[in-house]
């Protein structure tokens, strides 16, 4: 294998469940378990046996209905939640030989602060609404070890410029901004220390069409210019079609189909994917 084919992020057999599980649902007996919910003990199996790779410069789309485990996957990748079991390898951390899920909280924080950026669906989760926009960007830089105000300020201004936020508003709190602007501040924050991996969770949901277009345009441009790898979660197939190179389809916590985006959208194999693609038309 050539160097280029080593994945920047690799997930193996990741499981995330809410609840301890019982003898009934551990064996996945039918009847007692509806979708990914066990009626016996109330355990929710949010992510089941997820395995995938993300390569350099690639956009990996993840689609699925609500409740299919997309956001849980994203939270687990950003260590917002602990996984039940599974492995995660990141190219920039210990040469990609150590399972990050098993590392200490400090090491996870290092990976999160140095190697990843995340844009949440809800800006309240990703931004400090009481701190200035430039402060929000600086937070990420400070946690990556920067202690120079001048360099952080100029980097912040440069990024806000890139996401079309007027520089004269950079000292304003994001709470004063529109939803689309908040989302763009989040993107600027996520990009601030040039992370090789960007996690985007439903970035365009809830934005009006013209703002959606400008945010998507921005992401596409960033991906092309900076050659970063992106995991993109969306239930909007239009967004997936426009941005994603490869796509995973999730249902009830499992990956039911994966392949090139065109292939999945033009020739879906799984009945659920067929229904999904069909309902788009």
């Amino acid at each position: 294998m050539s160097v280029l084919e080593v994945p920047v992020l690799s997930v193996k057999q990741m499981n995330k469940q809410y609840g301890n599980g019982c003898s009934t649902c551990k064996q996945m007996k039918s009847g007692k378990v509806t979708k990914n919910y066990c009626h016996e003990c109330g355990t929710v199996y949010a992510c089941r046996d997820l395995t995938f790779d993300l390569y350099q410069g690639e956009v990996l789309g993840i689609v699925g209905e609500s409740g299919s485990g997309k956001s849980t996957l994203m939270k687990s990748l950003y260590f917002d939640e602990e996984v039940t079991d599974g492995e995660l390898y990141v190219a920039g951390f210990e040469d990609g030989n150590k399972n990050v899920f098993m590392e200490s909280a400090q090491k996870k924080r290092y990976v999160r602060n140095h190697l990843m950026g995340k844009v949440y669906q809800n800006p309240i989760l990703g931004l400090k609404m009481d701190f200035s926009s430039i402060g929000n960007i600086a937070e990420k830089l400070i946690s990556a070890g920067n202690r120079h105000v001048g360099s952080m300020e100029s980097r912040g201004a440069e990024l806000l410029e890139a996401v079309n936020i007027p520089v004269h508003r950079m000292k304003e709190e994001p709470r004063n901004f529109s939803g689309g602007m908040q989302q763009r501040v989040q993107i600027a924050k996520a990009l601030s220390n040039n992370p090789p991996i960007l996690l985007l969770d439903e970035v365009t949901t809830g934005l009006d069409l013209s703002v959606q277009a400008s945010v998507l345009d921005l992401i596409k441009g960033l991906q092309r210019d900076l050659n970063i790898s992106i995991v993109l979660v969306s239930h909007d197939l239009g967004v997936i079609r426009m941005l994603a190179d490869r796509t995973l389809v999730m249902l009830e916590g499992k990956v039911i189909e994966q392949g090139l985006t065109d292939q999945i959208l033009e020739d879906p194999q799984h009945p659920y994917t067929q229904q999904l693609v069909h309902s788009l038309l």
Partner: protein
Amino acid sequence: MNKTYNFAFFDEGSKREIRRATLKAIAIPGYQVPFASREMPIGRGWGTGGLQLTLSLIGKDDVLKVIDQGSDESVNAVNIKKLVSDTTGVRTTDSTKGASLIQSRHRVPEVPLQRDQILILQVPLPEPLRNFEPSEHETKKLHAEREYSGAWLMLFEQIMKYGIMATDADHPVMVHDRYVMAPSPIPRFDNSKLDNNEALILLGAGREKKVYAIPPYTNISSLAFDDYGFEIESFANHACILCGSNDVFLDELVDEESGETYFQCNDTSNCLEMVNQKQSLGVK
């Protein structure tokens, strides 16, 4: 001395519990140790944390000094002194050198402390990350993981808004390169006095139920950026109107008749000592 109370107001079990928390605090410099803050005859937020530390530590041979923002004679300082001496019978003093226990609100005395002295600071808000993260559960995790970007971020915000680090008092410090700590609302002028101090410095927050400590000879550095250094209050070209000192922390006051501003020592006992020294020189 009032004998209807146990020595030093508390029962022995209470004193022991507070001392145990204090020992833990000394063992982990800068770490906030929770303790069972007692109901006191003064209101929470009026120095109960410091008072509980004082009462748990005081012995019959101690000499107590209490200062309230530099003053030995303010109502709060006088009443705390009264309470302690009523229930213990220990001597009180205004002299920093003559005291073995010094309870202070928001000042470190100007006279350098010595190795057999204990300075007890009253703390209103012990958590330096509180404005950044409201949840105690989360801040405990941040301390555990030595994740202090929040403390720096708050300073960054001040620089963005005001052009300087605008902490007048309670400028956060790093304790021995491990814990970020709120030094209680002492002026920035006093932060440097904490570094490598010979005395034991204890900090008690009664309302927030926390005790923490700076053992003698602990490295204390004030948080700062590479290009925005830590600066203390400047009193250049000003001196105390009473004693003429210009290397101490000064209060800016207004003469109500003439409307002019003048400066005066904040540490009253030190000021008095300086004045007395000068006068005795003058007589000769």
